[in-house]
């Protein structure tokens, strides 16, 4: 996993609630056996029309917008556990997803792949949408060390939560497997004990 570095970037606004992982990456594109290449089909059915032509109205196709931060409506990433959703977003060059609420499994998957989910208040989320409506090039500044997100050039900022453990992993590019493997002895010892409820 790559280290997460603080970001100041313009954004892609996607003010839709309950975006499920079937929208992020439809099931028919899950047939690959490695982690790369899913970015091409990110939001496939919103991004392209029936004839596979880019839909000019969709935010990722709109040249007004750019950057490495996706800002989306409440309850982002609900539905299927497919980690391909996080891979597709990361593979498209995005590094942060901002929403007022994340589904549990998506959040875990994102963190396991160096993609930072930033949960903000609904009020702050709406402020970001407003700001980018006024100026599509509006940037946000995401500071993982201090756990803050700010609308660049304004006083509007908010802190976000992340466990100390996950922050350590993200800033150092460590993943959970390295950590678990280091606990092999404890795991073996656990296996010798009788299970009591």
């Amino acid at each position: 996993m790559e280290k997460f570095i603080n970001i100041t970037s313009s954004i892609y606004p996607l003010p839709v609630e309950d975006i499920d992982t079937d929208q992020i990456i439809p099931a028919r594109f899950l047939k690959a056996t490695d982690r790369k290449g899913f970015g091409d089909n990110l939001f496939r059915d919103w991004r392209y029309d029936k004839n596979d032509q880019p839909n000019p109205d969709f935010v990722l196709n709109n040249p007004k917008y750019g950057g490495t931060v996706l800002v989306a409506g409440k309850n982002f990433g609900c539905g299927s556990s497919r980690e391909h959703a996080a891979w597709a977003i990361y593979d498209s060059g995005l590094r942060v997803v901002v929403s007022s609420f994340f589904a549990d499994i998506f959040k875990g998957n994102a963190l396991n792949n160096g993609l930072l989910p930033v949960q903000v208040s609904e009020e702050f989320l709406q402020k970001i949408f407003k700001a980018v409506e006024v100026d599509p090039k509006q940037e946000v500044a995401v500071d993982l060390v201090n756990q803050t997100i700010a609308i660049a050039g304004t006083d509007d900022a908010e802190s976000f939560e992340i466990t100390a453990y996950k922050k350590h992993c993200m800033t150092n590019g460590f993943d959970d497997i390295d950590f678990l493997i280091s606990k092999a002895d404890e795991i073996k010892e656990y296996e010798t004990k009788e299970l009591v409820f």
Partner: protein, 463 residues
């Protein structure tokens, strides 16, 4: 301290506490399938490590497989590659595979319980969100991502923060013709698709106690659709009876000893939950969804909600996708497809209900119907009971097992714009094929709809 059922199972599986972080939780059983495992095996290969406890992982091919002519090579090259990769990985890493052609093959959440692998008090994971199904046995079971699949393969453990606890109690007698699918669609319509986020749910109450194991599985299966990590139900005599004698269940004295242990798996008097809901079973009618998430459900005879001037963008977008109007009736609406299958409703009880209803009737001509058993064992049982013949006489065909039109990764796809009444668990945009319009309902409602050709209340066809 008084503990909940969830606490008892969770706490007994904690191997290590990370300071200001997650816990290392031991996993008793790990199910894998062809879609979310290949990258995890690649990860092991890259690290040069084996599967830590290969006997505790069970593999099957289900998501991608055709539901016709399974004895022939898979036609879709990408699907074939994925299934072949699973065979190769299981062989190389020493994992038992119930692949195509094996008598135990089927949807991962159908075969685990029917083989007696799923047992009370276990922790179980799978790279599929509907792993929550296994919670019906008093196990902690939840879906994980592929990085986590790799963690479990490498260490038989997973890093997790302990979820919060929610209790959902349902009491009272269900009306005739109302199934457990209706209970769970009803609950999700009340709580919404994010109402359970961060929580693990315990379902209880006398309505739940009266349900068969298969009906309980349907409820736990869809607990994920309210955002919960999973759902569980305390084991009881119904549970022990179901497990007894199954292929991988403990036998003889060992079984009796386990039952004694399992009897401790219930929430203590006075144990606390973070959130509690209770519902009256007599309020529940057969349910159907009208929108693009499982929380958008109504009684089958009700009208689509009409928020008048207050419709949210999401509501409008959903109705637009579904081609429906606010306030309209669904009953009597013509549909094109009926899908009876998926890990929610493809067990033998479901097929019996369907066969009973369609017996002596004929499917409407314009309806394309797919009845897909959850596993080879379900298929064989259905054939042994003559259900396939009953279905055939009514104009239906019993297919071969797999996930099929639940997620439309194989060729069972609903075309754009077509309506499908489906017994599966998700009605997201495009879930059953690009542009497909899914309406979730119980197997009885789906069967009645297939007979009439329009959305129907099965109770009118029942004697």
């Amino acid at each position: 301290m008084a503990k909940t059922l969830f606490d008892k199972v969770w706490d007994s599986h904690v191997v290590h506490n990370v300071e200001d972080g997650p816990q290392v939780v031991y996993i008793d059983r790990h199910y894998i399938h062809e879609v979310t495992s290949p990258q995890a095996f690649n990860g092991l290969r890259n690290r040069g490590i084996p599967v830590f406890r290969p006997k505790q992982t069970i593999a099957t091919a289900d998501h991608n497989v055709p539901t016709k002519d399974q004895h022939l090579p898979i036609k879709d090259a990408l699907s074939k590659h994925q299934v072949d990769t699973l065979i190769k990985n299981c062989d190389e890493f020493g994992v038992e595979l119930y692949g195509l052609g094996h008598p135990f093959q089927g949807i991962v959440h159908v075969i685990g319980p029917e083989l007696g692998i799923t047992q009370p008090g276990m922790t179980m994971v799978c790279g599929d969100s509907h792993t929550s199904t296994h919670g019906a046995f008093g196990a902690i079971a939840f879906g994980i991502g592929t990085s986590e699949v790799e963690q479990v393969l490498a260490t038989q453990c997973i890093l997790q923060n302990k979820p919060k606890k929610m209790k959902i109690e349902i009491n009272g007698q269900l009306k005739p013709g109302v199934l457990s699918k209706d209970i769970i669609l009803y609950i999700i319509s009340k709580i919404s698709t994010s109402g359970g986020t961060g929580h693990f749910v315990e379902f209880c109450g006398d309505t739940i106690e009266e349900l068969s194991m298969e009906a309980r599985m349907t409820i736990c299966n869809m607990s994920i659709e309210m955002g919960a990590r999973g759902g569980m139900i305390a084991p009881d005599e119904t549970t022990y009876e179901y497990i007894k004698g199954r292929e991988f269940a403990p036998k003889g004295e060992a079984f009796d000893q386990m039952v004694e242990k399992w009897k401790g798996l219930k929430t203590d008097e006075g144990a606390e939950f973070d959130l509690e809901y209770s519902y009256d079973a007599t309020d529940i009618d057969p349910m159907i969804t009208y929108g693009t998430n499982p929380g958008m459900g109504i009684g089958i005879n009700d009208n689509v909600p009409n928020p008048n001037g207050n419709a949210t963008d999401n509501f409008k977008k959903a109705l637009d996708y579904m081609g429906l109007e606010a306030g309209q009736k669904l009953i009597g609406k013509k549909v094109d497809y009926v899908f009876i299958g998926s890990c929610t409703n493809s067990r033998i009880e479901d097929l019996r209900l369907v066969a009973d209803l369609v017996k002596g009737r004929k499917k409407a001509d314009h309806i394309e119907a797919w009845i897909v058993p959850g596993s080879k064992q379900v298929e064989q049982q259905a054939i042994a009971e003559g259900l396939d013949v009953v279905m055939k006489e009514a104009g239906f065909e019993l297919r071969e097992p797999g996930c099929s039109a639940c997620l439309a990764m194989n060729e069972d796809k609903v075309p754009a714009g077509a309506y499908c009444v489906s017994t599966s668990n998700r009605n997201f945009e495009g879930r059953q094929g690009p542009g497909a319009r899914t309406m979730l309902a119980s197997p009885l409602s789906a069967a009645a709809t297939a007979i009439n050709g329009y959305i129907s209340d099965a109770r009118e066809l029942m004697n």
